[in-house]
């Protein structure tokens, strides 16, 4: 038996030693694995760094190639521009010179004629060349030449020639002729895709810079635009939405410090606040339109400058046929400016091109002019014109916003104060609410006071005292315990009265607080309703102002026959 135990112990020791070695080996393997893992992480990091550097290298290489390519191509594009349209630039330079020469009267007619004819030979397809010949012919009363040159210019680009002569003739105060050209120009425009610069012309016409005749002629074109646009499907809804957005944008915020008690006491506050903001908007709408129509309308001096700028732009701007090459040039230049970063360059180039070629429909142009005059570059005169022309839609949208605000005004205001809830109708009586609130809190207080009873631990202590006391007869040692329980029960019983009094007092305090908050909330509600009524009445002032804007002094032609009256 002893042998067996000895063998067993030997074997066990051996096993234990082996296990110890195994453990040591496992730890060594673990260390190796950790080491390998660390090396792998380091390797990963190095590989990532290498990949990043490789990407950087590729990107730099790509950019360098793009840059090189752009630099080579831009030279070619410029050469092509120079070869094909180089003389256009010459014509443009001379056009400015000729206009200045005619202005100053310091160059002889012969020289001007020679220059213009020279230009004509140099730029065979360019509209500006024959236009300049016509201008020079007109300046020296050579009617046949002027007419022939004009016919040629018109054959090349009617729109630009019409605008050119409208602007040039206005410059020399030939208002009637200028008006005819202008009318021609307006008649040819597409009301769904107008250049943003048109607002400058419209401004000039509206402020009378082109004379009375231009006003009525252009007015006719504009009336046709409105008729065309109005007839298009979905136009009315779009126009309605446009003006709704414009007026809603004038809605003010209701400050967090306003009607604070009501806000805290009423779950309806969000609706009340939204509705108050909606009726407060009337004041802002009124102020906006009053500012447009207040005061005397003077032709601003800068309108004249703007017209001259327009002439400069028209003369100096690249022609449509040059545009593809010019765009290529600008695109390549952008790539060069961005050091070969083609994506960034194209992104920027696209936004510039979009801004330049952006067109707007006539009604959008009017809305911009009426609501954001400064950004749209519209004067007070254009603003008046734009408002007068959009008047039926503005009134309709204002009416709708007003009616919606009236409809959505919460008729019943909910109140929730410290667990008490009630709904205040229009003719809600403060006394009734106060009495309801008092009843609620009185009931709450009563419940709280009634809940303070001789129950729970004190009652258990009393019962325990009785039982243990009886047992104490047999075992006097327990009497001490019975006395302690009895003392606790008596103490708890004596505390009932002051606790009830405290609960009563706390209940009264809660009621007083709630009463105060209710009174304050109702006072604020009265103020709120008074303000609402006052603000709501301003909707009618806005309406009166807007409906009064039908005078011909604002509108080029009347637009009051668009709607038919039933029966």
């Amino acid at each position: 038996m002893a042998d067996i135990r000895a063998i067993d112990q030997n074997v066990l020791r051996k096993i234990s030693d082996e296990l110890g070695r195994l453990n040591t080996q496992q730890m060594q393997i673990g260390t190796v694995v950790d080491h390998v893992q660390t090396q792998q992480v380091e390797m990963d990091n190095r590989l990532q760094a290498l990949a990043a550097r490789f990407d950087e290298y590729l990107e730099a290489d790509r950019r360098a190639k793009e840059l090189q390519l752009a630099e080579t191509r831009i030279v070619k594009v410029r050469q092509e521009l120079e070869t094909t349209y180089g003389h256009y630039a010459d014509v443009r330079r001379r056009a400015v010179g000729i206009l200045q020469a005619i202005d100053a009267g310091v160059v002889t007619h012969a020289t001007i004629q020679e220059t213009t004819e020279d230009v004509m030979m140099a730029a065979p397809r360019y509209w500006l060349a024959p236009a300049l010949v016509a201008l020079a012919g007109w300046a020296r009363d050579d009617r046949p030449l002027a007419e022939r040159a004009l016919a040629e210019a018109l054959a090349r680009d009617v729109d630009k020639v019409a605008l050119f002569f409208a602007l040039v003739l206005r410059r020399y105060e030939r208002l009637d002729s200028s008006a005819r050209w202008l009318a021609h120009f307006f008649a040819r425009q597409d009301p769904t895709a107008l250049s943003r610069e048109l607002v400058v012309l419209l401004d000039a016409v509206a402020t009378g810079a082109f004379g009375v005749r231009a006003k009525s002629l252009v007015g006719r074109s504009i009336q046709e635009w409105i008729d065309t646009l109005t007839a298009a499907e979905g136009f009315l809804a779009e126009q309605h939405e446009r003006w709704r957005e414009a007026l809603v944008a004038l809605t003010p915020e209701v400050g967090g410090h306003e009607y604070q008690v009501l806000a805290a006491a009423s779950p309806t506050w969000d609706a009340l606040r939204g509705n108050l903001a909606a009726v407060r908007r009337h004041e802002h709408v009124l102020a906006h339109f009053q500012a447009i129509f207040d005061g005397q309308l003077l032709v601003p001096r800068d309108v004249e400058d703007h017209i001259d700028q327009l002439l400069d732009t028209l003369v100096e701007r690249f022609d449509a046929e040059e545009l593809p090459l010019r765009e290529q040039e600008a695109e390549l230049q952008a790539i060069i400016d961005w050091s070969g970063d083609r994506d960034a360059a194209l992104q920027r180039f696209d936004s510039t091109r979009q801004a330049l070629s952006e067109t707007v429909d006539f009604m959008g142009l009017l809305t911009n002019a009426a609501m954001h005059a400064q950004e749209a570059g519209a004067s007070r005169g254009t603003q008046r014109l734009a408002v007068a022309m959009s008047q039926p839609w503005i009134v309709a949208v204002h009416d709708e916003l007003t009616a919606t605000a009236r409809h959505e005004a919460p008729a019943a205001v909910e109140l929730a104060i410290d667990g008490w809830t009630a709904t205040v109708e229009d003719q809600g009586s403060e006394d009734a609410l106060l009495s309801g609130l008092r009843s609620h809190f009185d009931a709450e207080t009563k419940k709280a006071v009634d809940a303070i009873k001789f129950t729970g631990a004190p009652l258990a202590a009393a019962i325990a005292a009785g039982i243990v006391g009886l047992a104490g007869i047999a075992a006097p040692g327990l009497l001490v315990l019975a006395l302690a329980a009895a003392a606790y029960a008596v103490y708890a019983y004596l505390q009932l009265k002051p606790r009830r009094a405290a609960a009563q007092q706390a209940g009264e305090e809660r009621k007083r607080n709630a009463e105060g908050r209710l009174r304050a909330a109702l006072t604020e509600l009265v103020d709120y309703r008074a303000e609402w009524e006052r603000r709501d009445r301003q909707a009618e002032d806005v309406r009166s102002l807007l409906t009064s804007i039908v005078a011909d002094e604002y509108v080029l032609t009347r637009d009051d026959d668009a709607r038919t009256v039933i029966a």
Partner: protein, 134 residues
């Protein structure tokens, strides 16, 4: 004429909702007070009101307007389908969908409210009609 035949509410009808109402129509709407309190038969009047709507225009379920009979009456409904006028005293609830238009009908800016299944059209004295979602 069956009223229900013309109360359909397609997109074509919507466009006609905001057309200005004629003076004659507004006068007809105002004559609702001519009766006495309670439900009265106004089939001739209802027919005349319906006639005032052009072909293709959606017909309202009825008209809700301020009542001038005096207290306790506050508003009345001209039910075009039932061809009756019913006067409602203050505090007496209106049936749906008229209930939501009570405040609008009492607003001094509007002479009457046309009530459609999904919208109200507020009518001003000058004939302006403003449709809003109910």
């Amino acid at each position: 004429m069956r009223v229900v035949d013309r109360t359909s509410d397609g997109p074509g009808h919507q466009a006609l909702l905001d057309r200005p109402r004629s003076r004659r129509y507004l006068e007809l709407a105002a004559r609702l007070d001519a009766g006495t309190a309670g439900e009265i038969d106004v089939s001739a009047l209802a027919a005349a009101v319906i006639e005032a709507f052009p072909v293709g225009a959606a017909l309202p379920l009825g008209l809700l307007s301020r009542c001038y009979l005096g207290a306790p009456y506050e508003v009345h409904i001209l039910d075009l389908a039932g061809e009756i006028v019913e006067h409602y005293a203050a505090g007496r609830p209106l049936p749906a969908p008229y209930a939501g238009a009570r405040h609008l009908a009492l607003h001094p800016s509007y002479v009457a409210i046309e009530v459609y299944p999904d919208r109200y059209v507020c009518l001003r004295e000058d004939g302006t009609a403003t449709p809003i979602s109910s």
